[in-house]
């Protein structure tokens, strides 16, 4: 187990380093932020002064070394638009995205798992059909379209929920539903098929033969066995959630890291783009690593040599 963890940890660090380098290269190929910051009437000297002041005149490799050494200290530099550390801008937005991400993930898991179980238990009935339609529907629905429909129905016509922004539970409902919908189909179908496989195992037949009630079988025998693939998918889904959050946050004006990243891209705010990309990738890698550990704890049969 220890050896396995160590190996994964080294890999994790290599991936992070690679991503950091890649992001640096991509960002510096795409344009010149100084030109976005000065009015059109600025003279070449004024432009050059600003460039020197921001360190953008140095050779690329010097900029790269500066960037990497700072990165190791968790310093992505100041935002180009504002003299505030990019990392601080990013961290300010983390709670909003976490709130939305957790709400969306919990909602998706609850709906996906429970509908999946019911579908599997009542296979080929009308209940199963509804479950499958739900999965297909939420998979095919564009996120931004669903979001706008929710806003039009619940804010414009029914006037029940605020159309945008972050605040209390009321503001959270529509973004969380939107984000969850994006992730329900995967969980639902996986639960359904896993359950279905397990139902036909010998030990379930034995349990049934013993005369155990349905709910005991579901909770004690099936769910624990089905949990492993579901947890894996939920863990892997973390990246998807972050991706979905960018659209959801933009439509609902939810002040999270997704919105920050989009803003930074439109204004070519390189340090912020780098900070959010690097940190998001690292967090996905870390979550996958943690998922592996949970995996090992849940299933004692899995041994890592």
């Amino acid at each position: 187990m220890g050896k396995y963890l160590l190996r994964n940890l080294v890999q994790l660090i290599l991936v992070c380093f690679g991503v950091a380098s890649l992001v640096f290269m991509l960002v510096f190929i795409s344009g010149d932020p100084v030109m976005l910051m000065v009015p059109m009437t600025a003279t070449p000297e004024e432009i050059q002064n600003l460039r020197v002041a921001m360190g953008l005149d140095k050779p690329l490799w010097v900029q790269y070394l500066m960037y990497m050494s700072r990165l190791i200290r968790g310093d992505f530099g100041n935002s180009i638009r504002i003299e505030i550390p990019a990392i601080r801008l990013f961290l300010e937005r983390v709670p909003a995205t976490l709130e939305l991400g957790v709400a969306g993930m919990v909602l998706a898991t609850i709906i996906g798992v429970s509908v999946g179980i019911i579908s599997a238990m009542r296979r080929d009935t009308w209940i199963d059909a509804i479950g499958r339609i739900l999965a297909l529907g939420s998979q095919s629905m564009p996120v931004f379209w669903l979001a706008l429909m929710l806003i039009i129905i619940f804010s414009v016509y029914l006037k029940l929920l605020p159309p945008f922004g972050r605040g209390g539970i009321k503001e959270l409902i529509m973004p969380a539903i939107t984000l969850a919908t994006y992730n329900i189909p995967l969980i639902l179908r996986l639960t359904r098929s896993t359950f279905f496989d397990i139902i036909h195992q010998d030990y379930i037949r034995t349990a049934r033969a013993k005369g155990l009630p349905d709910w005991v079988i579901v909770y004690q025998h099936i769910l624990r066995n089905a949990a492993i693939p579901i947890i894996t998918v939920t863990g892997m889904n973390f990246g998807r959630i972050l991706g979905g959050a960018i659209i959801t946050e933009t439509v609902f004006a939810w002040p999270g890291v997704g919105l920050l990243t989009v803003d930074a891209i439109f204004t070519a705010d390189y340090p912020v783009i780098m900070a959010s990309t690097v940190i998001l990738v690292v967090s996905v890698v870390v979550v996958n690593f943690l998922t592996d550990i949970v995996y090992a704890i849940l299933d004692p049969r899995i041994k890592y040599g």
Partner: protein
């Protein structure tokens, strides 16, 4: 018993508030107005950015020496009066009894400090071009300053109206980074709270020198998505939105609680024939450039694609000082275009790439496709090359946007033809892809001419020359559409400046 006390106290408190409201209802600010911007302000420091969203926030909190009034004229603001002693020496008399929100007095020292702060390279201010004509600022007494200019500069009032006055003592004590998040100005609203990416809260400044504001709480919300913005207005969550697209106008109009207003703005669109001075290019020939202008039906584009939200125009925006209405847009005449092409030796037409970005445009892709179709009819095969707004100016500056690129320009709120003539037609400027010695002379002359009438004549001459030379595909000036709560009493402005101070509720 305890509960009774509580109730009694609340009743007393409410009674007090009620009494205060009815006795003071004429002068005290009340109510809340929510305005929407598309993206967050970069910083609250007015000297450290040049972005529209930030400018919108700044002008609630800060004032400048000059103001632009609702008729778009520049008039003294924090200045009481001014005197042009010589063309390079201007005396400004300041208003007395103006205070910053922290109680610090506004005086000559604050003016000197603010202007020098922008000029100081250490500030890294992108606002430098608004003051780079200034040699020095001299304090005469507490409420009088003298500005020494490098050259005569007729646009000094326009430029000064763009520069906020900041409190010297506060900035020196707290530092720039604190100021960037806790701004203090002399403006009609005081800063309360900024939740980045979400909202900015402001409250009326009861000591404002022009009088107490009518609205007590000004809220600026950040909504990046255009559809959400409209939905927010329809649901009543916000009171005022900008930049409504033509297809959403009927939706807002259908709601009895809302109203729509259309206002012309300073921003306008053109396509620069950036190879006009390259002898190898077909565009080198004046007849070809004129033919292109005859071939494109700008009025039809405005009416059918942009939804009427534009006005065909030639060199300047009709609202620029110096605009000459006698310089008319090219009429649509494809036959003449073909004839001109034939005379120039291009009867078979030629290939041309148009570079563009859709930033700020209504239906930018469709407009460019229409131009492609019009030019195709006279034999010019156009290839469209779309760029992202990020770095587009870089491509233009690097000379890569050739032989033609689309651009729209808001003149940085300067209502003067020089805002176009110098950057785009004066040789030596990085965006001047067409210039002639004669044009250079005229542009330089108007830039230092202090007599407005003579300036107008010079600018009119420049417009005639540019129309004749046709280095642009002349397009149209923009209009913007605002959607608002019908209860609000306010007037839309052409300079895209929005102020809570100008707003009240209808009685």
């Amino acid at each position: 018993m305890k509960k009774m006390w509580k109730t009694l106290l609340i009743a007393l408190f409410l009674g007090f508030i009620w009494g205060w409201l009815i006795t003071d209802s004429h002068s005290a600010p009340f109510g809340k107005v929510t305005f929407v911007i598309d993206s967050d302000a970069p910083t609250m420091d007015p000297h450290k950015h040049a972005e529209r969203s930030g400018v919108t926030v700044n002008w609630q909190i800060f004032d400048s020496i000059m103001f632009r009034n609702n008729d778009m004229k520049v008039v003294p603001g924090l200045a009481e009066s001014y005197k042009i002693i010589t063309p390079t020496l201007i005396q400004i008399n300041l208003r007395k009894n103006v205070q910053f929100h922290n109680g610090e007095p506004f005086n000559a020292r604050a003016v000197k400090f603010s202007l020098e702060r922008v000029l100081d390279p250490k500030t890294k201010s992108p606002r430098v071009p608004s003051v780079n004509w200034l040699k020095s600022v001299e304090i005469v007494d507490d409420y009088t300053v003298k500005l020494n200019l490098i050259n005569p500069h007729p646009l000094w009032m326009e430029d000064l109206h763009n520069l906020a006055m900041v409190p010297p003592k506060y900035l020196q004590e707290k530092g720039d980074s604190y100021f960037a998040e806790n701004p203090v100005g002399t403006g009609p609203y005081k800063f309360v709270k900024w939740t980045r990416g979400q909202e900015i809260q402001l409250v009326a400044n009861p000591k404002y020198f022009k009088g107490v504001p009518r609205i007590e709480n000004g809220i600026i919300k950040i909504i990046p998505d255009a559809s959400t913005k409209v939905a927010a207005l329809l649901s009543g969550a916000v009171d005022l939105i900008r930049g409504v697209s033509p297809e959403e106008i009927p939706v807002i109009k259908a709601n009895p609680n809302l109203r729509v207003s259309t206002v012309p703005i300073l921003r306008f669109q053109w396509f620069y024939l950036s190879d006009a001075l390259n002898p190898e290019s077909p565009l080198y020939k004046k007849k070809v450039r004129q033919a292109i202008n005859y071939a494109v039906n700008v009025q039809e584009i405005v009416d059918n694609i942009v939804g009427g939200l534009g006005t065909p125009t030639v060199v300047l925006n009709p609202m620029h000082f110096g605009f000459d209405p006698a310089v008319k847009p090219y009429p649509y005449d494809p036959e003449k275009a073909k004839a001109l092409l034939k005379e120039a030796g291009y009867a078979q037409g030629f290939d041309m790439t148009i570079h563009y970005t859709t930033a700020n445009m209504i239906k930018g892709d469709e407009v460019c496709q229409a131009i492609q179709a019009y030019l195709g009819r006279v034999g010019i095969k156009v290839k469209l090359q779309k760029w992202s707004p990020t770095g587009y100016m870089d491509i233009i500056k690097g000379g890569r946007a050739k032989p033609c690129f689309g651009l729209n320009w808001g003149s940085f709120g300067v209502f003067d033809g020089d805002a176009i003539l110098t950057p785009f037609f004066r040789s030596g400027q990085q965006y001047a892809f067409f210039h002639t010695p004669e044009l250079d002379k005229i542009i330089d002359a108007q830039r230092q001419e202090m007599d407005p009438e003579k300036r107008k004549e010079l600018m009119s001459k420049a417009q005639q020359i540019i129309r004749e030379e046709a280095p642009w595909i002349f397009m149209y000036a923009f209009k913007t559409v605002e959607g608002a709560n019908a209860k609000l009493d306010y007037k839309s402005r052409s300079d895209e400046i929005f102020s809570f101070y100008e707003i009240g509720f209808k009685k």
